[in-house]
Every structure is written in C-alpha cells, then in structure tokens.
C-alpha cells in the first residue's frame, strides 16, 4: 500500500533495458549523442512543434528553475499559485536561478490560479514604475499539486491573461502525462496551442530514473537556456543515459500508458473512498493523486496495516480524538497494484 509519492516507485523494465542498450560502446557526450537527436525529433513530432528546442535535465526543480530563469529577468515577478511546487518545494531554486526574481502568489481553488486573480496580480505589478519589480512570467502546474487538471481551455484562459500583458507562460509538467491522459487532448492542445511557451515535461514521476525534458516552443532563448543549464551544473557528460530513458519513455506511447495506469488506480481509489461513510474527497481526482479526509481512527488502522502516505499539508498532532477528520495525500503511480488499492479501501472501511 504505497501511496507516499510517485517518486517512491521504481522504473519499468523496458527503461532499464534501454539503459543497458545505450551503454554499449563509445558515444559523444553532452547531448551530442545520436539518441538526443531522436529525442528531439520525437518530441517535436508528438507536440506538432517542428521548431521547438528540447533539452534534458535530471530533476524537476532544475527543469522549472532553468525554464523560468530563461524567461524572466532578475527584477521580474513570477506569478504562481501559493501551493505551486516552485513556491513550496524547491528551496528557492527559482529565486536562485533568476538572480532574485519575486514569486507573486495568485490564489484559486484546487491549486489552480483563476484568470481573474492572475489579471489582478499582473495589473497591480509595476504600478510605481522603477520602484517595483516588473511583470515577468506566469507559471502554472499541470497536473497540479492538488491532483486537479487544467483543461486546454483553462490553460488558454490563464495564458491569454499572460499574453495580453506580453508575458511568457511556463508550465510545470512534472505530471504532464497524467494531465494529458485526463484532459483527453493532444500534447499541442494542452501546451503551445493554448499559449504555453515553455514546458517542463516530466519523466521521473512517471517511470524514469530521473529525466525531465524542457521544451521551448519558441526557440529564441535556447542558447541562453543551454548556458544556464551548463552553468547550473545540469549538463550531463554521459548524456546518452538521459536520452535513452526519454526515448524508451516515448516509444510506442509508453509514457501515456504509464500515466493511464496511475490515473486509473487513483480513480479506483477515489471512487472507493467516496463510497465509505465518513470519508470524503478534498479535491476533484483528475490525475494520479487523491486528497481524502477521514477520521483519525481509520488513519490508525491504515498505518497499523502498513499503508504509506502523507498527511497534508502537515502531520497532525500525534494524539487526538478518534473521530477527528484528518486529510491525507495518496499518490498512485504506474506500478500501483489493484491489491494495494483494495487493501487500502478495506482498512479504511474498517
């Protein structure tokens, strides 16, 4: 019953096989290996974006921070949701990489900024001219940290606000595949066709050892991105091992298949929870994460049975009444098994 994080899962055998195949013989490094060419071609094709530039890094924080820094000056405001990963979980990486930009928090339900709140925040920025930080960039997350998904129309609404003010749009897609299979649209529709300029295209949470692609739909800042990546220590010498992972991931729709499995497990889990008296869902379950609230007594049962998950947003006091409702986050992954879901629901029901 492993629901702590999709990062806690391993990787499919095909990914390991691809690493072994990639390891054969000598290869140029630093992204000059032939496999990287294929990654680039494949992602351009998948995203219907022949002019896009593609770079690989090994962590989501690197992908986000480098993408944002390449699109926002040090004196820029970066608009994001208060619960966004860039704000909450990166120890200030965007501030570090941008040289001190300011994250401006824009609220909205289920960890999605509302277009109205975004417009208001942008309009309020820079009113006093040189005395203020300036309008910089917008970053949204899909799927969100709450397990909700921005539809193409929702992305377009936020990106439309950004573009009306001339601002670039970044999407943190650490769980992009989960969002995509939920939205049921094409990669292009969920990104550049909806106004996204640069995407952190996640692999790690969806079955890779540690690879994220950054896709610049407008290649104008590609060289700057490359320099920032190198300077940040994120250019791999044996880059072929990143490329090999990503290639195997994209092959024959594997990345979508993995995400579908994770989303389906979450859907089953959510449906089961909703059917338990006294338990309820905190956010709509649209991707691979379930936020649920149920009594402390049930949590005790689950943890005694070995279920792994986090309370959210933070651990409750160790002691408390049995009937107090406590919220937790349950993350499914490509390898969540039916029996884990069934077991969880059984212990929950008590």
């Amino acid at each position: 019953m492993h629901f702590a994080s999709d990062n806690g899962s391993g990787v499919p055998g095909q990914i390991l096989d691809a690493l072994a195949r990639a390891s054969d013989g000598h290869a140029p490094g630093y992204g000059a290996e032939p496999a990287m060419e294929r990654v680039r071609d494949r992602l351009r094709e998948l995203f219907e974006a022949p002019g896009a530039e593609v770079f690989l890094v090994a962590t989501g924080t690197a992908a986000n921070a480098l993408a944002i820094a390449s699109h926002c000056p040090p004196w820029g405001a970066v608009y994001c949701h208060p619960q966004a990963h860039v704000e909450e979980d990166e120890c200030g990486a965007p501030e570090f990489y941008t040289g001190g930009a300011k994250l401006v928090l824009v609220d909205g339900p289920h960890t999605k900024m509302t277009p109205g709140a975004l417009a208001q925040a942008i309009t309020a920025t820079g009113r006093a001219g040189v005395h203020n930080v300036q309008r910089g960039a917008v970053t949204l997350t899909n799927a969100t940290e709450a397990g909700s998904v921005h539809s193409p129309a929702e992305v377009a609404a936020l990106a439309g606000v950004a573009r009306a003010h001339g601002l670039p749009v970044h999407m943190d897609g650490a769980r992009f595949a989960n969002a995509l299979v939920a939205a049921g649209c094409s990669p292009a529709e969920l990104t550049w066709k909806a106004g996204v300029d640069v995407l952190s295209f996640g692999g790690t949470k969806n079955g890779l050892l540690g690879v994220e692609a950054v896709i610049l739909f407008d290649p104008a800042r590609a060289w700057e991105f490359e320099l920032r990546r190198k300077r940040g220590g994120h250019l791999f010498s044996k880059h072929r091992y990143l490329a090999a992972q990503m290639l195997a991931f994209l092959e024959q729709g594997r990345w979508l298949e993995l995400a579908r499995a994770a989303n389906a497990a979450a859907a089953r889990l959510a449906a089961g929870i909703a059917a338990v008296p006294g338990a309820s869902l905190v956010h709509p379950v649209e991707a691979n994460m379930v936020f649920a609230s149920f009594p402390r007594a049930a949590h005790r049962r689950l943890q005694a049975a070995g279920a792994k998950y986090y309370f959210w947003p933070a651990d409750p006091a160790p002691e408390g009444p049995d009937d107090e409702a406590l919220t937790c986050r349950l993350v499914c992954s490509w390898c969540t098994r039916d029996d884990e879901v069934a077991g969880f629901l059984r212990h929950l029901a008590g």
Copy 2:
C-alpha cells in the same frame, strides 16, 4: 581507438545490474533510502573519516560548484590553476553558485599550482582591506587536467599554504581514483590527512552513468551544502539510483580496479608513443591521460584510421605542413582495449 574522453565510455555491466536490483519495489527518496546510508558508511570507512558527511550529485560541475560555494563567501577569492576545470570548463558555475566569487589564477607546471605561487597570490589578496575581494578557498585537481598527479606531499604543501592563512581546501577529484592508484597511498593520505576539507569524489569518468560524491571531512557546513544542493536542483527524488551506482562502484574495490585499467592503458600508450621517433610526451603520464606531440602527417594517418581524440588546447588550422608538430590529448578509460592502444601506436609509427 576511442581516446576522446573517459566520458565517452559506457558503464560496466555490474553497474547496470545494480540499477536493476535497486529498482525493485518502493523506496523513500531524496537520499533517505537505506542504500544511501550504506554509501555513507562505506565512504567513511574507505576514507577513515567516521565524522565525514557525504552527498551525491550527478555531475562534476555540480559537485565542484556546490563544494566551493559552501566554503567561500561571495566576496572570496578562489585560488586555482589557470587550466583547472572550474576555471575553464564550467561556464562560470563557481561564480554562479558562490554569488560572484572571483577565481584567482595560480600558475605552475603540468596544471599544478606551486606552493610558492599560491602563497604569493594569497598574500596579495585583500591588501587594501574592504576594497578588495577577500581570501576565500583553495581548489586543486587530482588527477589534474594535464594527467599529472599530486602526491600526498604535494597536496600537503598546497594545503599547508592554505591552512597557514586559514583557508579551506577543496579537491576536484573527478579523476580521484586515477590519482589514488597512481599515488599508491590511502584515500585518507591523499585527502584529509594532507589537509583537504572537501572532496569531489568522481564516479562518472571512471565507469558510472553520472554520480559524484561530495565528501565533507568537516561536517560543519553539511546543512548549508544540502540546502545549496536542493536549491541548485541537484537533489534527486529517485535518489536510490545514484546510491546504487555508488555502492556498486565501491564494492570489492571495483572503483580502483576500473581506474587501474585506465591508468595501465595510458601507461602502455605513453610508453609506445615515447618510443616513436618524432613523437614526444608533453606532460608526465601519471594517470589515465596522455598529452603527446607528433607530426601532422601522423595525425592524418590516425584520423583516417578512425582514431578519436582532441587536439589540445584547440584544433589546429586544417591545412599545414606535414612535419609540423601538433599536440593532442588521449584519454584512456576503464574499457580501453589493448587492441585500441596497439592500433593507435601502429598508425602513429606509420
């Protein structure tokens, strides 16, 4: 005949096997997995440094920049050789991570600073007080970019100068294993016993996919290092794949065996080159790299035969007299084959 870089090599099968084993089941991330505990223990034991702190990152540039930034303030001088990797090959990563420290270049033969030149540079720093950058940290490379090796006594001489001025010492050990088997001493003797405070312990060039350990012999700055690593985007969620590589690397002396193979190949290559009339060695060959000079005609023969290597420090003009001597860098790795060496020497001899 692959002599372009040790980064161009793949990884031994045992490393891949270790990845596959590590992939089984769920594991905590971010370095909290049990394998990281074993890595820490193993390195503490190998280095006879029970109090040392150990962190893993995926690139040598990250290891160096994070180590230096944790030991030098933004207004510090970082003393290094003009051909050091931190000065020449990291696109300013040390400047970025430190927040703008200044690399002060200290010369010496075969890419080793001399203690006298180091003392002079340190003494000259900060003479005008607040108007100057201040004395920060010393960084040396072992094995060096020229393929030479600092003996324990040479490390101690440089570190002694640093310590006499109260400065911490970093060693860039991207090729530490190659240096160690050449020096024929213990890991402790080549590092903390000789005055090194923090070591970038390289794995990538010596057979891993992409892992370097940073070993802080004095753990006082460990928490700062951790924060800088996270903030730099270098903390891996599926950290177990780094730990697994490093464990397999350290197992049964494998890391030393790999380095010995590379050094031995370089020694054979160097001996063969030295015996060819008209060819000569530019630096002493002490680790796994050979810098050799020989006529353009021989280079033409070698390249026509498919030999891969770099001219050094830069490509010569495409055309030129046959008898012009041109210098090249030849790097051997754990998987350099005897027939590659023999083939190279045969084509060189003509």
Copy 3:
C-alpha cells in the same frame, strides 16, 4: 500645500552649513575621517549601545537591503508586512542583495504584522526540511508605511516571536525619528531593548540630503556588512560628507526636533480632517503621515488649488461621481508650514 512625500522637502540650513564646514581641507576617505568616529560615538551614546557598529549609506533601500542580507542567507525567508517598503518599493533589492531570499508576507492592520500571524508564518516555514526555504529574518518598519507606530511593547512582541525561533530582527527606520517622538521612549527602548538586532536609522526623509545609518547592535556581522556595502557600491570615497550630515543631524537633538515638527503638522492636519463632515482617517495618525478618505469633489477642489499628494494605493479613474470617497496619503515633513495645513483644510471643507 506639499504633502506628496517627505522626500520632496529640502534640508535645513544647518545641514548645508555642516557640509560647507566639512569641505575644508583634505580628509581621509571611506569612513576613516575623524567625523565618522564622532558619528559612531554619538549614536552609541544615544542608543546606549557602546558595542554597536555603525555604517552610513546614502539611501534607505541600500540600508535595508544590506542589513537584511547580512542577517539572512540566500535560502532564508524574510518575514515582512505585505505593504512593507522592502516588499513594495525596492524593486527586489532584498532579493538581489541576499542572493535570492524569499519575502514571506505577514499581514496585520495598519501595516503592522501581528505577533500571531508572524508566529504562524515562521512555524509554517521549513516544515519539509531541505525542500523549503528556511527561517531567515524578521523585518518590521517603524514608523510604518501607513503612518502608524510600533510601541516598544509591540516591537518586543514581534521580536519575541522572532527570538523564540532564533531569528534576527531588522527594523526599517526610514522614519525612526518620527516613530520615536511618537512613542515617547528612548532610542534603546524602541530598538535593542525590545529585541531589534539591526536598525536602518533614517536621515533622508527627516531633513538630510541622503544619509542613513545602519546600526548593528550586535557587531558580529560588521565586517560582512562592510564587504557587502563596498561590493554593492555603497562605500563613499568622500565619506566625510555623509558623516557631516549625520553629525549635524544628531547635534543638540536636531533630528528629534525635525521629527516633532513633522509629526505635529500631521496631527494638526489629521485633527482638521476628522472634523470635516464626509472626511475620515483611514489609519491612526501617529507619525508624520495622514491617510484620509473624502469625496472626489473635495479632491478636485484641492488639486485645483495646487495641493500635492498621492492617491493611495493608486490613482483613481480620472472620471467618477463627485461623492465617491477616494483615499489619499498626505505626508508632512520638518518644513511643512501652518499655512499649508490651514490651506488644505480650507479647500477640503469647501
């Protein structure tokens, strides 16, 4: 009728005289002139802080940013009110000088953080360990941007929260003299006795050409401060002109006299406004600023009569109903004249 800003005022003749006297002959620069020794002694005496270190800079933004950067690491959270000058009016200077720290906004009425909200914000910081920015420093403003004043007890309450978590406390005292004469206590009581570690002691808004002192009650970070000041380009070569201004300011209680004049003018203005039907005060008037709300028709009359002031927080739409209430900020200074106040009140009453 000049109520736009205390920065719009000139300087008293005695300050100019002091500059002229200071200009005589040669003097060492960079703070080594004898006058700086006297400034240091005088401020130590005034603040009953014989061990304090004192530095001069020319702008409030420099004072704040350097003070904060000397007390907060790049990965630190800086707790401040959402309307604080450091958040709203410095174009990200604190982020720049700290190397990317994060300003965490803590609300409260009249631009004062509440101790409860501060405690909550601090407690919420760093819960996820290395993934989060860490607790850094607290900065409060006295007098505030809303013209309110923190009493010694209020400062102590906020500083007590900070100290309970081991955090240093900075006070932005661009209008410290205004706060002090309002609080009716000693400089020490309003600062270090209440838990303040470092103070931006403003001169510019209170009658100087451009000088602020930074007073480090704990001198441990004095050398770091000096280096940051130099590196930021804020160390004056002809430093004697800063020292001379500050000396003349402190002489015979002149700084308090100037602040008293400004506060008194604001009090008269506030009393007058409160007596006008349809007009009201938005914040308590405790220092030299009045935030008032009254109908657009009255604003039209005042502006036609040449009154200078800002709408707050932003200019209203140019057209609108006569009876719509609009808020403005009215700042008095050391040289606000009785007839300006009287004139304003006459036009307001209509």
Copy 4:
C-alpha cells in the same frame, strides 16, 4: 603636501552654493526634478549625443558595476586590465551586479590593454562552446590607474577589436575629465566616436561630493539600467542634490578647469621629480597622477615633513637600506597648491 588621493580633496565653493540653491523648496524626487532634465540636456550637448540616456549615481563603483551589468550577461567575460579598478578595487562589485560574470585580465604597459592582447583574449573565449563563459564586454579606464591616458586613436583601436566581435565597450571615466584635457579632443571623440557604448563619467574625484553620471550612448538598455540602479539601492530620493552638483560641475566649463588644474599640478610635480638625481618616473605622466621611484632616504624625509601619499602597489617593509628605490603614487587634485608641489620637491631633493 596632500598627494594621497584626489578623493581626499573637498569641493569648490560653487558646488556647495549650488547645493544650497537646490535646497530651496519642494521638488519631485528620484530624478524627476527639473534639474535632472537640464543635466541630461547638457551632457547630450557636450557629448554631441542627442539620443544618449544619462543617469546619476553617487559612487564610481556603482557607476561601473551597473554599466557593466547592463551590457554583459552572467555568463559573460569582461575584458579588463589586471590593474583596472573594476578588478582590483571594487571588492567584486562587477561580479555581484552581473550575477557572476568573469573578469578576464588583458595585460599591457601603463595599465592599458594592448589591442593584440585583447583580440587574443576574446578569440580564446568560448572556444569550447557551452562549456565556457562567453564573450561579454570590454571595459577600459581613462585616465588609467597608472595616470596614463588613452588617446582617441587608442580607444578606437581597443573598441575596434571589441566591435569586430560584437562586444559592447564600457569606459571607466572616474578621471574622464583629466583624460579629456590631456587628450585635447572633444568628449565625443574620446568616447562614442571612438566606439564607446557606455561611459562612467566621473565627478567625485574632480571636485564633487559624490556624483558620477552614466551615459548610455545607445539608449537601448536604459530601462534595464534604471531597474538595476533602483534594485541596487542607487536611486536617490532627493535626487536633486545629485543633479545640482552635476549641473554646477558642467557649468561654464568648470569640470574642465578643475581637471586642468589637477593635471597641471601633476605635470609640475613630474617635471620636478624627473630633475632630481636618483628619482625617476615609472609611468608617463599624462593626467593628474605621478608614479615615481626614489630612495628610501628621500621617502623618510618626505614623510617626516608630513607629505601624504601611498607606496605602490603596497607598503614596503618598514626597515630597509637608505638607498633602496621605492615606488609611490602621488595624486594631484583640483585644489593642489603650488606650495605643496614645491615643498614636496624641496624635501625630495633633500
């Protein structure tokens, strides 16, 4: 006998008078005061550069660091002489303001880079592509730290190298007026007509309390400069006092007159020294500084007589033989008196 620094001098009475006049009444701040408009117009006229943008700051380090940061990315190389103020005397301010650019040292006699050495340094930069810092900007000093002057032709030769590689050119003109009167050309000829893009136009060393203008001949980066200035804490609220100084400085050729006086004093001093047996000039004396070498015994006599100056580059050992030649720097200023020069020469001759 004050020859320690031109920063040790006071300011002419007319400058103080201008401050007093400027102090009358209220004025908009932050550069919006009418006097700044006149400064801009006057400098555009003097430099025959109607499109130039002009900003004032209070220190030379601020002027240089902001100018360079506005013209060089964080990953850029800044080419300068090893004895340049930006390299030696600013505690890393250029590195801080650029976000970690690298100063690349280009040698040449009398603190002037040679065009050949500059071309070589630029050509050597970035050879390994993304692994290296990139070509950024060139900065030269006029008059130099050695008291030599770049003629328009010399500026054009260096700027020509820069422009051939597409690089912007900054001139540190802390002593620009001294260079200009020495060169005997027009301001335009010594700057933009010779290829300079941005000038730090010094006032402080030549008679102001603390004002430098930054002149951007190409205004494309003016807004970025303004934001960097504000963010660096260098935008003055009571900006009128900067503008007033600069206006009085430019009035009726006063700035040139002041510089001529300083240069003339240096010329007299140099001629006198050259005539003393055993004394010699180390650099050509072209502006207001004299570098001279003479026996320790003469230094003892001078210091006993109260002469103020610095040994260069550093203080000698306190004891030593009487006939050992020691080098010193002697700086004349707008207010160096004939009797100071005469006195110095008398004690030198012994």
